[in-house]
Amino acid sequence: MKAFTQHTGIAAPMDRANVDTDMIIPKQFLKSIKRSGFGKNLFDELRYLDEGQPDQSCEGRPLNNEFPLNFTRYQQASILLARENFGCGSSREHAPWALDDYGFRCVIAPSFADIFYNNCFKNGLLPIVLPAEQVDQLFVAMYASEGYQLTVDLEHQTVTTPHSEVFSFTLDDFRRECLLKGLDDIGLTLECADDIHAYERKRQEQTPWLFGAIS
């Protein structure tokens, strides 16, 4: 997995609550059997004025000029500022894949939906929870200043503004370690193979009907 240590980049707004995963990446693009290439369809229904199709080139599609990600000032953005309950809805990992493929490394919001939050860590995308007032403050500062950059430091768990204001955030130690080192989850779990085998033997004794039933 891709590691995340420190990142400095331009912040862009997704200024609405309850942004759902259908909005992040509409269902027609879920037909792909690949993990990459979703960036061009990130927020497809908001970014473009027509209906996008899978396997279609997005060059020449009519852009929605009122959607912030289409503004020149946010073209190089890599940090997304968002509102409450970002990523609600389906479990599609295509949502973090699309954000990552577009070039986002980090999403900052007052809260995230559970499954989306979890999926981000599997893809080197850092979801940061800050109190709503601080997120609000960042929105105001970002709107006021073109090219507004933030620095995110995972090691020290801080977000630093251009005026050197520092906001601290928290996250699980385990997730932090995995992301800092870019560790392979599966490899880590397989280090506990003996524990899994031991549990499984016990489970098979206690609930024999669960084994072999559907093969």
Partner: protein, 471 residues
């Protein structure tokens, strides 16, 4: 110490606990569909890994499958959308090469994953169940710990039989009293979401308790648990009782006779202790719940059938207010408009929320001897599985639907998320028994209203929303 149902399920599956509170949880059943699995299988191959326990996995294609009998006639090869066809074929190939049991497209046991799991007995009380699909909580109705996972976790569970998880908090949603005539499990869960909001359950596992759930059928409990995620909770569940055990008995993958009594004795333990402590408690009075209709683009934007659309200017929170304004604009509706005045262009009856036999019967009871309104362009009834379809046909329900002008389709997810050909046109209002009313969910520019099967059926006849209690 007294434990909740969730505590017991968690403890029973704990393989290893880490100091930071995360843990390895053993997964008993892994359900797989075509949309969220191809990248996981590819990951296994690239790492040279094999599934840890093939016999824990059951697969079936559901999201992409066409629902017209014409397009279904020649199986996978007949799928007209070439991109969809590749995805369904990829599932077949992956299951064949890894030796995974799959109910393929025209197997009578094929259907929506969350209908097939309980129906086949693949999902049982006391289990942990995962699937790369957020509506996996449906299986919690069995007294199981069931929740959706992402594709990386699909690969992780295949490779290790475990999930890295952190224990959630406990929430009890208690609905006491008795439901009125014409008020269904769907109305109950919509009323709950309206009360707690779409993020109300974030970080919690919800147990649904109280008289209303004790009285509810298993299929009704599935409808409620199904939408736990729309209330923000990954997992919803109902304690095991006689209703659970009677439902499971005789299912194809349920425990064989020699294990049955032992299994039942264990399952009976999967109830919250009387003095168990919940981190949050939400209560509703079942008698006060009326048929519900969503008016906006989030499942919390729900009112009763006799209400009007709320006025954003009365909302004090600015982020919420702007969300309401945007939703009304997208939906083409006005504050103050009566719900019964909303005309319906299409009707969709189906999805993992409401496509089981009881749902089919509820629809038939409303439309029997009546005719679909001419203004309704299309009303489709999509059974949740081939077995639901066969049962409905054995009861003659299909003939009732067809006589009323409704279309009777083949099983799949269909217009719930419109990955196949079943979709709304821009601006069309749909009375839908599905679970999400997000912008574009049922088709580009489509306008979804979430309702119960009986309410959708009544709307198909009236051409607009009506109170099914007096219809």
């Amino acid at each position: 110490m007294a434990k909740t149902l969730y505590d017991k399920l968690w403890d029973a599956h704990l393989v290893a606990a880490r100091d930071d509170g995360s843990a390895l949880i053993y997964i008993d059943r892994h359900i797989v569909h075509e949309v969220t699995s191809p990248q996981a299988f590819e990951g296994l191959r690239m790492a040279g890994r094999q599934p840890w326990r093939v016999d824990s996995i059951l697969a079936t294609p559901d999201h992409n499958v066409p629902t017209t009998s014409k397009e279904r006639a020649s199986g996978v090869e007949g799928i007209e959308d070439q991109v969809s066809k590749i995805q369904v074929k990829t599932l077949d190939d992956n299951c064949d090469s890894f030796g995974i049991t799959e109910f393929k497209i025209n197997d009578q046991r094929q259907g929506i994953v969350h209908v097939v799991g309980p129906e086949s007995g693949a999902c049982l009380p006391g289990m942990t169940v995962v699937c790369g699909d957020s509506h996996t909580a449906t299986n919690g109705a069995l007294g199981a710990l069931a929740h959706g996972i992402g594709t990386s976790e699909v690969e992780h569970v295949m490779a290790t039989q475990c999930l890295v998880a952190k224990k959630m908090k406990n929430m009890l949603v208690r609905v006491d009293g008795e439901l009125g005539e014409g008020v269904t499990p769907k109305d109950v869960v919509l009323a709950i979401i309206a009360k707690i909001g779409t993020a109300g359950g974030t970080g919690y596992a919800i147990e649904f308790g109280g008289q209303v759930f004790r009285d509810m059928s298993m299929e009704g409990r599935m409808t409620v648990c199904n939408m736990a995620i729309e209330g923000g909770a990954r997992a919803g569940m109902v304690a095991v009782d006689d209703t659970t055990i009677n439902y499971v008995k005789g299912r194809p993958f349920a425990p064989a006779a020699e294990y049955w009594e032992q299994a039942v004795a264990q399952w009976r333990e999967f109830v919250s202790d009387d003095d168990a402590i919940f981190d949050a408690l939400i209560t509703l009075d079942g008698a006060e719940i009326k048929p519900q209709v969503s008016w906006g683009t989030s499942p919390e934007m729900v009112v009763s059938i006799d209400d009007s659309i709320p006025d954003p200017t009365a909302e004090p929170d600015s982020v919420k207010r702007s969300g309401m304004v945007r939703a009304l604009e997208y939906m083409g509706l006005q504050a103050g408009q009566k719900i019964i005045d909303i005309a319906v262009d299409r009707v969709f009856i189906g999805s993992c929320t409401n496509s089981r036999i009881e749902d089919m019967r509820a629809v038939a009871a409303v439309v029997k001897g009546r005719q679909k309104a001419a203004s309704v362009k299309e009303a489709i009834v999509v059974p949740g599985s081939g077995l639901v379809k066969a049962q409905a046909e054995a009861e003659g329900l299909d003939q009732i639907f067809i006589a009323a002008g409704l279309e009777w389709r083949e099983p799949g997810c269909s217009m719930c998320l419109a990955m196949n050909a079943d979709k709304l046109g821009a601006g069309e209002h749909c009375a839908s028994t599905s679970n999400r009313n997000f912008e574009g969910r049922q088709g580009y520019g489509g306008r979804t209203h979430l309702v119960s099967p009986a309410m959708a059926a009544a709307a198909s006849i009236a051409g607009h929303f009506v109170d099914v209690r007096t219809f």
